[in-house]
C-alpha cells in the first residue's frame, strides 16, 4: 500500500492550481483571437441566464422578504422600523444579491458545465475535438466564461430588484409600512460605492463559476464515477471561492470607497 506523502500531495495541489490558472487565463486570451464562437456564446447565455432566472427570482424574493421580517423586531426596538427599506436595499445590493445569485448559479451551472464537459472528456469527445484541429478552450470554455460573467451581472440586478420587492411585501402587508417610505429609503440610502460593489462582485463570481466548472469538467477522469466526482467538486469549489472572494472584494472596495 503506497505511503501518503505530504510533499507529493502539496505538489499535486500546486499543479492543479497552475492548470486552473492557465485555463482561466487562456479563456480570457481567446477573446482576442479567432475563431470566435458567437453562436455558442449566445446559446450558453440563454442556458445560464434565462435558465437560471426562476431560481434567482425565487431566491432573491424570499431572501428580501425574510430579511425584512428578521430585522423588523430589532428595528422596532429602536423605533427605526421605517429604515426597513434602507436595510433591505443595503444588504441586497451590496451583499446578498450577488452572493446568493452566485451560489444559486454555481449550484446549477458550475455542476452542469463540469458534468457536460466531464462526459465529453471521458468519452474522448474532447480528444476528438483536439484531433480535428479545434481548440476546446476556444470552443467550449471561452463561450461559457463570457456568457456566465455577463449573465450573472444581469441576474444579480434582477435578484436585487426582486429582493427589494420581497422586502416591500413584508414591510407593506405585515409591518404596515408606507410603500412610498419603503421605496424612498431603499433608493436614497444607496451610494455609488454600494452599487459599484454590488455590480462588480457578480462579474468576478461569474468568471469563477464558469472557469471552475470547465476546469473540473476538463480534468475529469475515471468514467462516470469521475464525472460525478468532478460535478460535486466543481460546485463545492465554486461556492467556496465565491464566499472567500466576496470577503476580499468587499475589503478591497471598502478601502477604495471609504465611508
Amino acid at each position: 500500500m503506497p505511503v501518503f506523502s505530504l510533499v507529493e500531495f502539496a505538489k499535486s495541489q500546486v499543479v492543479k492550481v497552475q492548470e486552473y490558472v492557465l485555463l482561466a487565463w487562456r479563456s480570457l486570451l481567446n477573446l482576442f483571437g479567432r475563431p470566435r464562437y458567437f453562436a455558442d456564446t449566445i446559446m450558453q447565455a440563454d442556458l445560464i441566464g434565462v435558465g437560471s432566472l426562476p431560481i434567482v427570482i425565487l431566491t432573491g424574493f424570499f431572501t428580501g422578504a425574510v430579511l425584512a421580517l428578521q430585522t423588523s423586531n430589532t428595528l422596532e426596538q429602536f423605533g427605526s422600523l421605517s429604515l426597513t427599506g434602507q436595510l433591505v436595499s443595503f444588504s441586497m445590493v451590496r451583499e446578498l444579491g450577488p452572493v446568493l445569485t452566485g451560489l444559486m448559479v454555481a449550484g446549477r451551472n458550475a455542476s452542469g458545465m463540469a458534468s457536460e464537459l466531464g462526459s465529453m472528456k471521458v468519452t474522448e469527445q474532447i480528444d476528438a475535438m483536439r484531433a480535428m484541429g479545434v481548440d476546446p478552450t476556444k470552443k467550449l470554455v471561452t463561450p461559457r466564461v463570457m456568457s456566465c460573467t455577463v449573465m450573472l451581472f444581469f441576474l444579480s440586478i434582477i435578484s436585487d430588484l426582486v429582493g427589494l420587492a420581497g422586502g416591500w411585501t413584508i414591510a407593506f402587508f405585515m409591518l404596515g409600512l408606507d410603500s412610498n417610505q419603503y421605496w424612498t429609503t431603499a433608493y436614497q440610502s444607496l451610494r455609488f460605492a454600494d452599487v459599484f460593489m454590488g455590480l462588480s462582485k457578480p462579474v468576478v463570481f461569474g468568471f469563477i463559476i464558469a472557469s471552475i466548472g470547465c476546469y473540473y469538467g476538463l480534468s475529469a477522469k475515471g468514467g462516470t464515477q469521475g464525472v460525478g466526482r468532478a460535478t460535486t467538486q466543481a460546485m463545492v469549489a465554486a461556492s467556496v471561492l465565491i464566499v472567500v472572494s466576496d470577503l476580499f472584494i468587499t475589503k478591497f472596495l471598502m478601502g477604495v470607497f471609504p465611508t
Binding site: T123, E124, Q125, D127, R130, A131, M132, G133, V134, D135
Partner: protein
Amino acid sequence: MATLAPAGTSEPVAPSGDNCVLSFEDVSIAFEEPVLNGVSFKLYHGENKVLLGAAGTGKTLILKLALGLLKPDAGRITVLNDEITSMREQDLYGVRRNLGIVFQESALFDSLNVEENVAYRLIEETGKITDDIHNRVLEVLRFVELEQTWPSFPSELSGGMRRRVAIARAIITQPEVLLYDSPTGGLDPVTSNTIIELVVKQRDVYKTSSLLVTHRLQDAFTMASHYFDREQNKMMPVPAGKALDVHTTFIILRDGHIIFEGTATELLRSRDPYIREYLS
C-alpha cells in the same frame, strides 16, 4: 493460424526517397511505470502499419503521441515533416488538420447529428452547413454505406454504425494519414469485417497512409491478404501467386519495445517464442 495466412504475397513496402509521413525516433513515455521505451519506426506515404500487442503495451498511446495529444518524455515525433514534440498546442491544431483518427469508442459528439458530426471540420471553417458540405457528407456516408443516417443522432445508431460514421468523419477532408484505434473492438465478426473492408477500401482507393491498432489478428491478416476490387465494389482475397502489394506491414509491441516489424509473411515465419505464442 493457417486460415489467417495471406493468400497472396505481401511484399515489404519499399520507401522511395524521403516520403515518410510519420516517424517515431527513440520515443519514450512513462506514467506510473514506463510504457514506451525507445520506440522507433517510420510510416511511409501509402503504407499501412498494423500495431499489435497485448493490452497495456501502449498501442493507443502511440496514436495519441502521433496526434500530439500527449507529449513523450523523450524522443522525436515527426508528422508530415513537422517535428511535433516541441510544438505548442496552438500550433499543433494546424498539423492535426492533415490527420484523421477513428477512436476506439467512436467519440462522436452525442449532441450533434450524424451530418454535423461528419462535417465537423468543414463547419469549423465555414461556420454553417452549405450545400457543398451537405453533398460532401452524403458522399462520405455513401462510402461507408450509411447515406440515409445523416439526420440521425449517434444514440440512434448501433455500435458498428457509429464506428462507420467515425470513419466517415475521419476521411471527409481526405487526410494524408489515418489513425485507427481498435476500429473493430467489441464488434461482432460480420460488422468487424465490414469495418476492415472500409479500411482496405480507403487504403486501396485513396492510397491513404494509416496506422491501425487492433487486438484482432484476424483483422490484421485480412488487411494483409485482401485488396479492394473497384469493379466489383468489394474486398477480395489477393489471388495466390499474384504479386500484388497491399502496402501493409506489422508492428508488435512488448514491454515498451517493438519486438517485430515486417510483413505478414515475415511475421508468420518468425521464430520468436513470444510471437509464436501470440499468433497461436
